[in-house]
Symmetry: C2
Subunit: 170 residues, 2 copies
């Protein structure tokens, strides 16, 4: 069953919103946050081969949609565990990448393994592997934001954007 | 009219979501992004006195909810204009502040006036004013994130977090 929406300005609002003709629900839409991480160990970075569409078979950084009541830092760690079965600590913010067309704001963090460098293919992943910088398969990277994040990470390995400075949550 | 929702796991999902009993609409909920700015000029920062609840009468940084298809950088500039009638350029990211209880992820940017240092009370604002650091009315600040952002900005005026490095959008 598909809901039918009409476009109108709700009372007390200044912009047009989607309103369900059946039940009156106002669907306030906001951009969605994607949180992910570059997990590095001995100069190599952790990439996941996607097992689902879009871009199945291509390599990506572990990342996914933030859930309600979740901080981006926590969402990034959760996604690394779900997709690559790795427990990590975050070290800092790499950057923010917005895909306006999709209304996605993606945040990527620098990370290291919390204990041993253990990982495995998790949900939505067909393979997980560590790549040296010169081994990264640029022609098989899933999304532009993954390449931007890897290159920004590579430029900024000096640790300038420390997490305690750039991000906090309550 | 109020929509009635039940909680269930939709097909293809792994978590419980709110589903409208009337029309079947799945209300995927995600944290909302708030974007704002510290606009500085000759050592002073721009604050707005809130004309609306919550915290009417208290001082805040110009900031508000990001709209769909909007980058945080653009949302911050829009909010500065709506609330303080100032045209600004962004210089860098100050930090990210998450309020888990409210599912808000707030991003604040360093900014300067794009032309002359002109501003005025805009929508939802009863007064706009520039404050020297020692003049900031800490007892009349609207939200904890405003104080955190001002203090983080004050520590980081060296320009380390340049916008071109930490944020991009397509």
């Amino acid at each position: 069953m598909v809901a039918e929406f009409i476009t109108q300005i709700p009372a007390g609002d200044t912009r047009e919103r989607a309103v369900c003709v059946s039940c009156g629900f106002v669907d306030y839409r906001n951009p969605k946050i994607v949180a992910g991480a570059v997990v590095a160990h001995e100069g190599r970075v952790l990439l996941c081969r996607r097992a689902i569409e879009p871009r199945s078979g291509f390599w990506t950084l572990p990342a996914g949609f933030l859930e309600v009541h979740e901080a981006p830092e926590d969402g990034a760690k959760r996604e690394v565990f779900e997709e690559a079965r790795a427990r990590v600590e975050l070290l800092g913010l790499i950057g923010i990448y917005t895909v306006k067309r999709l209304s996605q704001v993606q945040m990527f963090f620098r990370a290291k393994f919390a204990g041993a460098a253990e990982f495995a293919a998790g949900e939505e992943t067909s393979a997980a592997a560590m790549f040296a910088w010169e081994e990264i398969p640029w022609d098989e990277i899933a999304f532009p934001s993954v390449e931007w994040t890897l290159r920004t990470w590579h430029e900024g390995e000096d640790g300038m954007a420390r997490l305690e400075r750039f991000s906090t949550s309550v």
